[in-house]
Symmetry: C2
Subunit: 264 residues, 2 copies
């Protein structure tokens, strides 16, 4: 496993003082995912849990649906490559990906249009309910867990929780990749996601919603802001979107029926 941080010599200036010190900074590493012998993407990410990253990414892309479809999964972090092979080969994968990557920006390739057009059959119907105090407690635990962020200030983190505790936690320099890693980890360890919530340190944009919709996760909580398109998708997809969850406060942007102690 490559180390996620690195020590560097820097010049630290503070008021009139300037000194050469050692500083810990976060690593950024290009990782290429090879899917059935096709090199489909290179992600700039934190070099840990590459298997989860690859599985979560391929799942978000619709290239795998289930752990059982995977024939082999092998990562080499020195080479920066993850190889994934499925039992059944999808001949369309290459064309599909080419098209997708040309028509999206920072989104790691998920087709926004597909989700927007998908309509009510994709709506998440989970009956999970949680207390707002409960959610804020989980957020507090989440924030104390972020080891690399405490060291470097340079990463995002994501977690998947049940109503009681954090089940899966990952950090990555990219907010999309942190989400891919927690979803990938759930898939690999057969953890059901449909009655769980996801916590993220990052802003909630449309691309995050499309990843959650695919995993059928009914609640997303962030300490940061959402975008209007994120909120629109959350409303359409039946996902409870909570932003600015800090201290004893939070904003609920959609489907507040799942907050059991503060209904209106």
């Amino acid at each position: 496993m490559k180390k996620e941080t690195k020590k560097l010599d820097i010049l630290r200036i503070s008021g009139k003082k300037a000194e050469n010190v050692k500083d810990i900074i976060v690593r950024e590493y290009p990782i290429t995912i090879v899917f059935n012998d096709v090199e489909i993407v290179t992600l700039l990410c934190s070099p840990n849990n590459l298997d989860y990253l690859a599985v979560g990414f391929l799942f978000a892309e619709g290239l795998i649906n289930d752990k059982k479809e995977i024939k082999s999964l092998y990562s080499d972090d020195r080479k920066g490559v993850v190889w994934v092979e499925t039992k059944k080969k999808n001949e369309l994968a290459k064309d599909l990906l080419t098209r997708r990557f040309i028509t999206t920006g920072c989104g790691k390739g998920i087709s926004l249009v597909g989700i927007l057009e998908s309509g009510s059959d994709k709506r998440i119907k989970s009956g999970i309910k949680m207390k707002s105090t409960n959610i804020l407690e989980l957020m507090k635990t989440f924030q104390n867990k972020s080891r690399i962020h405490r060291l470097t200030g340079g990463v995002h983190s994501a977690a998947i929780c049940n109503t009681e505790k954090i089940l899966v936690f990952n950090e990555d320099i990219g907010r999309h990749s942190a989400i891919d890693k927690v979803i990938g980890e759930c898939i690999m360890h057969d953890i059901e996601m449909t009655n769980h919530l996801v916590i993220t340190s990052g802003r909630i944009t449309s691309e995050i919603l499309t990843k959650l919709a695919r995993a059928k996760i009914p609640i997303v909580v962030s300490k940061s802001a959402p975008t209007d398109l994120g909120v629109k998708l959350a409303k359409d997809l039946g996902i409870t979107l909570i932003g600015f969850a800090r201290g004893s406060r939070m904003n609920v942007y959609s489907h507040s029926r799942r907050i059991s102690d503060r209904q209106f």
Copy 2:
């Protein structure tokens, strides 16, 4: 011009209080860039200054080098499209972009390998020097300027400055697009960038460095963290990289010779 923010009804929870209030949130909008009749990318961004965004993006991609190469530039923010046509058509653009977008992740397509292999000829030699106090003053002004961020907490901002003041300032939900917009604005208004500095609210990753190298900008300042690959590129490319510039403090990660009052 589409409005960058939107009012929405939300449920605000604060301790034991819950109330329905209006909240202002940032807009996220898909914008497609059509370059010489080829649809090359759709960026999820803030719907303002789309011309600057397109020019900055195409410049970063190496598809245009100069304002003079542009034959026509037209944007329709209702349709979410920017059309750019150049006088000379580059037949390779389509192939080049297909390849690039498959092999990069969140990077909006810049080929990292190309930059890493580029060697010393790409090194920025600018002799600009600045006082650290001066840089921190500019950072303070920069942070007070961020109108949409103050309203929504949901955007990044970027600026290009000379040693005295901010010349160009833009906000966008994406940290890459905010940089593309300021560089695009400089290109369109014939503002030299080679003796200037760029300020960004976002983390400084490898992809930000490749954009700055292309514009030959010698100094980059952020209130946030860099990554190790960002620092490596800054060292190799001759760029002064400053992170965690807050209050009276900053960390200088590379080429501190350009800080005139705090040399070691």
